[in-house]
Symmetry: C2
Subunit: 326 residues, 2 copies
Amino acid sequence: MELVSRMLSGDRNALARLISLAEEERPEVPDILESLKDHLGRGYLIGITGVPGGGKSTLVDRLTRIMRGKGHSVGIIAVDPSSPFSGGALLGDRLRMQQHCMDSEVFIRSMATRGAHGGLPGTVRSVAKLMDASGKDYIIIETAGVGQTELDIMKIADTILVVLTPEGGDSIQSLKAGLLEIADIFVVNKADRPGSEQMVQNLLSLVHSPTRYPWWQTPVLPVQAANDVGVEELWCQIEKHRAAKEEMGFLVSSRTDHRVQEFRERVQDELFSRICRHLDRSGRFAKYLKKVQAHETGPSKAAADLLNDNAFWDEWYREEREGRGG
Amino acid sequence: MELVSRMLSGDRNALARLISLAEEERPEVPDILESLKDHLGRGYLIGITGVPGGGKSTLVDRLTRIMRGKGHSVGIIAVDPSSPFSGGALLGDRLRMQQHCMDSEVFIRSMATRGAHGGLPGTVRSVAKLMDASGKDYIIIETAGVGQTELDIMKIADTILVVLTPEGGDSIQSLKAGLLEIADIFVVNKADRPGSEQMVQNLLSLVHSPTRYPWWQTPVLPVQAANDVGVEELWCQIEKHRAAKEEMGFLVSSRTDHRVQEFRERVQDELFSRICRHLDRSGRFAKYLKKVQAHETGPSKAAADLLNDNAFWDEWYREEREGRGG
């Protein structure tokens, strides 16, 4: 495919076009990604999640500047409605971002979340792969840590930063379990605000008891991204985590896990959306639905009856077979 | 069924046993619920959701006391890890709750959420129906408003209270859209704390612009549940909402919507879990999974190939048919 070879030779427009195809979930995308297989795995994926308003985008900006200073190219995927990368920001933030937009070694793409509280869009993986294949050394995925997204990022990223602020005491309480599970590095951003010391101590005590991996002790870093304080130290910790993960052979095994998980989810998601589409067209489903509407049969009983109805399955099987041209 | 008739004649142990069957999703449950069809719909469902630590359980306690004072029987379903009803509470809270536990006209059941950020368990609907059939005048469902649960409660409850506190400024920002969409009544609890007046004003301005229904203007009530301030007024508003909803014919139509939604979800959920179970057993799935593990085929391509593989579908169809004994 011409677009693919143009992208591989560094054409930004070709990358942008391919990303659009992936976002639209075009049927040719699996074959495109397959043809890129030998170009995948060089880029390193950093996931950044945390409370809304925690200053994640400023942090991404500062980290990008450091990476560029070391000569690394960077891809940024912002899946965060409040991110200046995705458009929800003050003018000052946006102007700051533009500096990176002009840099040909930085590629930024923003994406919508799936539903109000929904997880990462399934297409994030494909977009990250395209950035990886295009030669980006680091790919940063910024997500708003509300609901499902922070669990999803765990299935994609190599190193995960969880960003909190001293004000977010409440949020820690509620998100504690989920966040502890996924954080490779905790960042207490806006560390010049009151309560930051306490927050760092609280997190340290949570983090210290049961370590997730014997080879990694999750650090808790006070950072002031807006004032460029602590970001170099954060960068060092990211590199340290990467080195430890690689050395332990864990990078390879976790990426295999990610691939397996992606395969399973893709099959499940596709089957599920076919089911939903089928239900909308199914004469059998409509028949039982009418009974539910008329209060003739209760929802549980109607569901059980439908799934016991051979005609329902035959209908679906026929439709599927015709869809495959079989 | 003997258990059913015992429950209908007021036996609390029979109700508890039936609820356990529903929670275990026993295959006989659809038929049990079907046999109760004529006993359903008399109870009125109140959903209470909001930020963790917002004092929802104290509110439930105070509302229950008012309802009991008017001679109503009450069922309480607590799907909230921090609820004293579910066990996550101070000793004082628990002692307070015990007062209701001794009351034969109050039935309390706590349930776990589905996953860390997961929605309401699918069995909440069945449990609520059993309480309804057993003759409870009001059924209160208390959920922690994190993630998906507050959207789920919308599909079940007749009147929805959203409980916030003056401290929860941050949370409003992030949950605003979802909460506005579902609240029939806003409660600003702990209204003796600073910022409460401001919070009420903020919510009022959000609530006032686009009303969801022409027949209902969402009230915003300052309440101090712990000091028993404002709870009577809240009770009046619940009754007012109920009366308006009934008068407009909206209670009937929204309950029909709820039934239709439940039917569709039950079919989808059951089909999805059958898919997942099938994948674990499927020889075809295992074949492609191996290719993904060995890095031979990428996940997207492997998923597309599997779903194009007639043998995969034939395998499933055969399994399903055998499962139905067809």
